[in-house]
Amino acid sequence: MRLTAILSMAAKAAFPKDYRYGTSRPWTIAAKRLNPPGKKRRKVFIEPIAYEDWSVFKGDTVEILSGKDKGKQGKVAQVFRHRNWVILDGLNTHFRYIGKTADYRGTYIASEAPLLIRDISLVDPTDRKPTEVEWRFTEEGEKVRVSLRTGRIVPKPVFQRRDGIVPQQWKDGPKDTSPEETLEKTYTPSLKTLEEEVMEKLGIEEPRRNRKTYWY
């Protein structure tokens, strides 16, 4: 238990306190350029939103409230919780060249800029208008997002895995244990250690004992 705590501490404390998070992952060259060791930049202030109150997830349909694409609805492609950012598919774009070499001018593509959570609003699935959303509990005890204007539940988008596997439609391969075999309870509690049980089962007899050793 303590080892895992230490390892998780090492994983989290890899960033200094004034690390400036961007849209690139921290191990990329762009992020390293943004955060060279020993840089001191003006601090970015972000609105502290608690983990339980976070309402926007990847795959949600949201509407932009301010900016160039005001009034348009789009699907959330990426969420950055450390800066309260959201990137929508194909909206709030600017244009740039990528893959530029010495002689080739590069491909002209549209790249999306992140939007703050404040400028985004979740869309009610029934009337497709932007609403304020609150977390409430259903009668079964499930935590759901409820739109304050209409009172309807905004369902959480289905989580799609990056490798494209849909667990319910998975076909077992030759090396896969089926769910029934995995959940079978074959453990019989006993006071013997595994080594003693295996010796008993295989009929191994070991009358020799270790020599007594001392340490000080």
């Binding site: 667990p167 090396k175 595994l194």
Partner: protein, 135 residues
Amino acid sequence: MGVLNALRRGLVRGADRMAEFTSKRGSRTHYKGRGAQPTGVLTSSRKFVPVQAMIPQFVVPNLEGFKLKPYVSYRTPAGTEPAVTPEGLFSETVAPQIQKDFEEGSFDKEQLEKYGFEPTQEGKLFKLYPKNFIR
């Protein structure tokens, strides 16, 4: 500026003195092992005699009818089983027997060995404390 700040800016020079000195460092003639256990004895005529008892053997029971495979299907629902605690193990293995004997009237405080009580770990091959097996 401070030692740590100087380090961050890459201004401190020198090798890492606290790094582990492994067999990869040192000269060509520097011999150092990586901590492998010996499997025999080196005689006075510089011949190595392997001792069969020092070579580790895998003891594998017969796996006929064993249904578990290396991987688990994605369709398995997520969840955990309650952890096996000493109290749980006692209540599952020993407590029913003690209860039965107590109701019959044959429970004896001095004869706890028949329920699996071990007063000392002397004489056992696999001692629980101090633990003398790797697992």
